[in-house]
Amino acid sequence: MAIKLKQDKKKKKVPKKTKIFSLIVFLVFFAIATIYLLSFLYRSSLEDDYNEMMEFYSQKEAEAQSLRRQVDRVAVEEDTKIRFLKDIIERRRKTTDFFSLLEELTHPRLYFNSMSLDVIEGEARIEGVAENFRVLGEQVQYLREKSAIFEGEANDLIRVIARGGEESLDQYTLEFFISEGNLEIYIMDEKTGREVLELERDNQRPKAQAIKEERMVILPLEGETEISQEFLELVSLSVSEEMSASVYFYLLEGEKIEEMNNTFLILEKNPLIEKVEVVEMRVREDEEEIDVVILEEEEETNEEEDNNNDEEEELDEEEELDEEELIKRGEVNFSLRLYLNPRMFGVSY
């Protein structure tokens, strides 16, 4: 009994604080162990969710992949096609527009007998036939109104070759060049194939080019019709950039030397012409050239006439000497050189 009491006494000796500490320690351990066990349950649930999600994700990714391929194949292809088509359509030039423009610019008494149109380069070369020089002059004048002369090149600004024989038509070549908003027209030298005059329709033109525009020598073409209507046929005319024009006439009938003199006088009176010079005169009989008379003497302008009376008299004497012989022999071809009046063309030299 004493021992039992002693043991009870000893048991009672455990401090309360120690007991509480031990309890707390046990509880903490128990809690941690519980958390650890619960984490297994959570992991299991999380893994299920994860697997489900990954399966769903794989499905969606496969779907997206398939759509992406479809987009690449169809949508990108269609987009490329549409862009290409848009580009083609934007850069497309309607050829019929050119025909309409050509019709609008063509003189009714002139026709084209050949044409070559390069749509890629935007260039057309057209050869046509005009009834006469007046029509050609009107045509060029019309082009001048509708366009602006851009640049003169080479020695000849314009060269017009008349076709002899029965048709008596004038041949020339016009070259059209259409760029954005502008119409450029070249008049080609048939012999060299080079452009001798370039016209361009553009209102925004630098002044320097506008001066060149004034060099356009259309008016002598118009004046020419006045002098060649009955007895003369203009065989060729070329105008150089240095403001001189070479004219080659062919006397058809009538009093030949007299007609030539009249022509000479008419040309001299033309305010556009500063000086006229006889370069060459050929006498023909039965279409065969039998004699060549070259007259290098110059006819001076009206202003200088008084100072050069002596020279003129010499020339008249020479012509009088030849006149009788020329009338007997037949038709006469003669070539004149016209010096154009720069003042009339707004160019100062």
């Binding site: 455990v14 120690t18 007991k19 500490f21 031990s22 320690v25 046990f26 903490v28 351990f29 941690i32 162990a33 958390i35 650890y36 984490s39 297994f40 959570y42 992991r43 999380l46 893994e47 969710d49 994860y50 999600m53 990954m54 769903f56 994700y57 969606k60 990714e61 779907e63 997206a64 759509l67 992406r68 479809q70 987009v71 949508a75 292809e77 269609e78 490329t80 096609k81 549409i82 290409f84 088509l85 580009d87 083609i88 359509i89 497309r92 309607k94 050829t95 019929t96 025909f99 084209f112 007998n113 050949s114 044409m115 070559s116 149109l117 390069d118 749509v119 890629i120």
Partner: protein, 172 residues
Amino acid sequence: MKIFITAIVFIGLTVFLVTSFLLPEIEELMAMRDEMDSHQRRLDSLEEYIKKVEDIEEKRDKYEEELKRVNHILPVYPEMPAVFSTIEEMIRRNDLAIVSLGSVSVRRTDEAVDFKEVEFSFNVFGGYPEFKNLIDDMESLERIIKIDSIRMEREGWSYLFSVEAKTHFFLD
């Protein structure tokens, strides 16, 4: 004293449990959670992409006819017999005489690598107004025909027209 020792043992066990098992487990669970979040975001963006594509497809369906026309204008094959047949019909309809029709060459376009162009030429004989109508008809065709050059030579009261043109097809 026994209780104290037992408490110390439990503390040791607790520390061991926490450091060796619980913390790695928590880390692993957190990583898994993060991965799931990341996949969820990717899944959302995929769903968004799919929805967009579906919307586009829905819109595209409205332009089915136009797209068919685009595919007709730029076919996968040159389909030149059909082009020639159409041109021949137009030439006859415009009272022009066919002198020749053919001379085909195929090459890649300079503009885009996915396309090829077929160059062809033909010669017709007849009047200017008729030819102008023919060109107008050709340029109004759904299958785009680009006229590259036209040459015209007078022969009597009519003209001989030589035309060089091209059309395109898609290089599949």
